[in-house]
């Protein structure tokens, strides 16, 4: 489940960590609605639909990283349904000191590994884990390169294509995904297509429940290039490489979580304010504006918006905001809103000068 889980440890245990992001706009919800009130976000009900329709029968275990109360309680629902050999709510530490939160995190990860060991008997040695970490290091590097190319040449590949390619990494082995990413980079490193008169935007708020592809396409069709986003945030959660030369790779993974995590609505930002980090991202990606697109009823994302939007207002950064759900099917209103946003910047505004 979203947002972040160190897939390296499952890979090292000879397993495949599959990302479950709900049923999107492909799955008709019939049974899932019987498990959730109308005022709870959409993703957990589509996950319930998937599990009740036996889509997860081949899975050995389910891991629910801590995001919010809804996902936390979904882990309890899976426990009551007795699905898989193990169900783990992974309590990601909110304390970022190595000997406090770090030790707790290692214990949490070890609990997962113990459960996997009971299934396949594979022992995760330092060598195995270092190898897995190196593969995921490479994976993140390649994804970052794609985002970097898109920043300079966004017309070469649509945001929806980037999304699909990154998401593929959640259902196939990392080795295969890296091979695909390398092919994609070779392809988009050469000029193709024509630049269009679009503004560059950063899309924020979709860290957990994913927007439908139609929404991503709509934003681009309405006059924007999405050059930064928080879709599938877990794939880029760790910023930079994780040390693969250590005899204690579990600690290296932990240190990376504690010291190199990106910012997210699911992590408390004591001493590292998220508005400052968003501002850095806006500057480094050189975007013209921000689109705050969050799932309906998402407390973490929506409670961040006043904080982030205040920063945008204070710094003269243009933004718009709207809600979606993973199965939103009507994009006309959003297209008009985004189109107006894009036009207003293209026609009337000077290039973004972020106030100091």
């Amino acid at each position: 489940m979203p947002v972040y889980f160190p897939r390296e440890i499952i890979h090292a245990a000879n397993g495949l960590a599959v990302g479950i992001f709900g049923g999107g706009d492909k799955k008709l919800i019939l049974k899932g609605d019987a498990y959730y009130q109308s005022y709870i976000c959409h993703m957990p009900r589509s996950i319930m639909e998937l599990v009740l329709d036996s889509h997860f029968e081949g899975f050995d275990g389910f891991i629910f990283p801590s995001i919010c109360d809804v996902i936390r309680n979904l882990s309890g629902m899976f426990q009551l349904l007795e699905k898989g050999s193990f169900i783990k709510y992974l309590d990601l530490p909110q304390n970022f000191k190595s000997h406090i939160g770090g030790e707790f995190y290692i214990h949490e990860l070890q609990t997962v590994l113990n459960s996997v060991y009971k299934i396949n008997g594979v022992e995760v040695t330092p060598a195995r884990l270092n190898h897995s970490i190196s593969l995921f290091n490479r994976n993140r590097e390649l994804i970052h390169r794609i985002y970097a190319i898109r920043q300079d040449f966004p017309w070469r590949m649509t945001a929806a294509d980037v999304y699909n390619i990154v998401r593929a990494g959640y259902v196939i082995p990392v080795e295969d995904h890296n091979a695909i990413l390398e092919q994609v980079i070779a392809l988009v490193s050469e000029e193709n297509g024509e630049p269009l008169d679009k503004i560059r935007v950063l899309v924020m708020g979709a860290f957990c429940e994913q927007p439908p592809l139609g929404l991503i396409r709509t934003i681009e069709m309405a006059g924007c290039y999405i050059t930064e986003d928080d879709f599938l945030l877990g794939s880029r959660w760790i910023m930079g490489n994780i040390d693969t030369s250590t005899a204690d790779p579990m600690k290296a993974l932990t240190d990376a979580y504690l010291e190199k995590s990106t910012f997210s609505s699911s992590v408390y930002d004591v001493g590292n304010p998220k508005e400052a980090r968003l501002l850095e991202l806006i500057k480094s990606r050189n975007v013209d504006g921000v689109i705050f697109a969050a799932p309906s009823f998402c407390d973490p994302a929506l409670l961040d918006h006043p904080i982030l939007q205040k920063m945008c207002n204070d710094r003269n950064i243009r933004f718009i905001s709207f809600l979606y759900s993973e199965n939103t099917g009507q994009f006309k209103v959003i297209k008009e809103q985004v189109g107006t946003f894009s036009d207003s910047i293209k026609l009337w505004e000077e290039p973004l000068q972020v106030k100091k």
């Binding site: 309680n73 304390n95 904080i307």
Partner: protein, 427 residues
């Protein structure tokens, strides 16, 4: 319904305690007392008080704003400042109250915090709430105490060790810094001895609903009973005295075969015994309660009265292990239990207190309670074959309290209970 609504001594004591607390808060700047904002679930007030600081609970402020019919305006003001309609209304009410001068229930200003103690237990939104408060009160230090969830149906030594380290290295040093006082473990132990006594009193009090008629309503009156321990009096001798007096009064009610006290006097006929899951609605609290006592329905147990601590399964704070005990107290709060534990606890309540029905008041604002409630209902229905009722409202947003909808649903539920009783009696 008896119209004798004379206040009992415990009510007068409680009113004085709360008034004195708010008075102490309103004069905190003059007296030099430091003020700590924190939350009810996992409220480690004993530690705060051991540093001679005063706790403020934003949820308590919000619910009191709801009862005083001020929350609607506060929420509207917060929404005008960019907060979404979709999010927790406690947060918006608190933000709105702050925008409007932070006036507390006694009409006096609640002082700004000197420390934000984010002891978050069982509610992820608390994190987001304090991120907001941190920006509203710039420069105020934050002490974060992460309470691990009981995902594996138990508290492990690693979970306790994680919390104790946080207490020792994050929370206590910040309290020392803010208060100017050194950590005094003997003082904390003395407070925990009081808490332990209070916890036993609370269990005794809520256990009296085994009697017929039940001498108390464990939801509507229950929220008043848990008031002192959840609003700044954990660990105090006043709390011990209050709960001793309350228990004595309830025992007298049992001796006199009296039903629960309602705002309109003593409920004379007990027709239905219910267990309720979920917080109450605060904006229409009296009307909401009346829907029950008018029908002779008494709540014999509720999950909400366990939100600030669960003592039913034997947990008591242990003064000999003060920090471990605070950690385990936090991890034992109701919303920090996983769904299976919640089902087991509710099941125990339904059985022990001979409930006729189980009712969920599903709160739009509170995912911590609400997400999973429909599955809890299914589980209990299957396990105990008990009639289940379901209503929806909100904590403090008056827009989500629909009197007629709730009344219709409750009437249908009570009819179902009545018919079931008739069938059982015939058999």
């Amino acid at each position: 319904m008896s119209k004798d609504v004379a206040k009992e001594r415990s009510m007068i004591i409680q009113k004085e305690m709360i008034a004195n607390h708010f008075m102490a808060l309103s004069t905190a700047k003059e007296t030099g007392k430091k003020v700590v904002y924190t939350f009810v679930p996992g409220n480690i007030s004993e530690l705060i008080l051991s540093f001679d600081m005063l706790p403020v609970y934003p949820e308590i402020n919000a619910l009191q704003s709801g009862m005083r019919k001020k929350s609607g305006d506060y929420i509207r003001d917060a929404e005008q400042h960019g907060h979404s309609e979709d999010v927790c209304t406690y947060v918006k009410c608190d933000v709105g109250m702050m925008i409007n001068g932070n006036i507390g229930p006694t009409g006096e200003k609640i002082p700004n915090p000197d420390l934000l103690l984010l002891s978050y237990t069982g509610c992820f939104t608390f994190l987001k709430w304090f991120e907001t408060l941190e920006r509203l009160y710039p420069g105020v230090p934050v002490a974060l105490l992460h309470t691990p969830y009981q995902e594996a149906h138990k508290i492990t030594p690693e979970m306790t060790a994680y919390m104790v380290k946080q207490l020792k290295e994050e929370v206590i040093p910040k309290m020392e810094q803010v208060s100017g006082n050194k950590y005094d473990e003997e003082k904390l132990k003395a407070a925990l001895r009081n808490s332990s006594k209070v916890e036993q009193h609370i269990i005794n009090i809520f256990d009296t609903t085994k009697h017929r008629p039940s001498p108390i309503d464990a939801y509507f009156a229950g929220v008043y009973y848990i008031g002192p321990i959840n609003s700044g009096f954990r660990g105090t001798p006043q709390a011990v005295d209050y709960y001793a007096e309350l228990y004595k009064e309830i025992l007298e009610r049992i001796d006199n075969k009296l039903g629960p006290i309602t705002p309109e006097g003593v409920m004379e006929e007990e027709r239905f015994r219910l267990v309720v899951e979920g917080p109450p609605n605060w904006t229409h609290f009296r009307e909401f309660w009346k829907l029950f006592y008018d029908m002779g329905a008494v709540i014999v147990a509720s999950s909400y009265t366990k939100v600030g601590g669960v003592y039913d399964m034997g947990f008591r704070v242990n003064p000999d292990k003060p920090l471990e005990s605070l950690a385990e107290y936090c991890m034992n709060c109701y919303t920090n239990l996983n769904l299976q534990q919640r089902v087991d606890l509710l099941s125990k309540c339904i059985t022990d207190y001979h409930a006729d029905g189980f009712l969920v008041n599903s709160i739009k604002s509170c995912n911590s309670f609400s997400a999973g409630q429909l599955m809890i209902m299914q589980q209990l229905e299957r396990k105990l074959e008990i009639p289940i009722g379901f209503i929806e409202s909100d904590l403090v947003d008056p827009r989500y309290f629909s009197y007629s909808n709730i009344k219709n649903r409750l009437e249908s539920f009570f009819q179902m209970l009545e018919q079931r009783k008739m069938i059982i009696n015939r058999a």
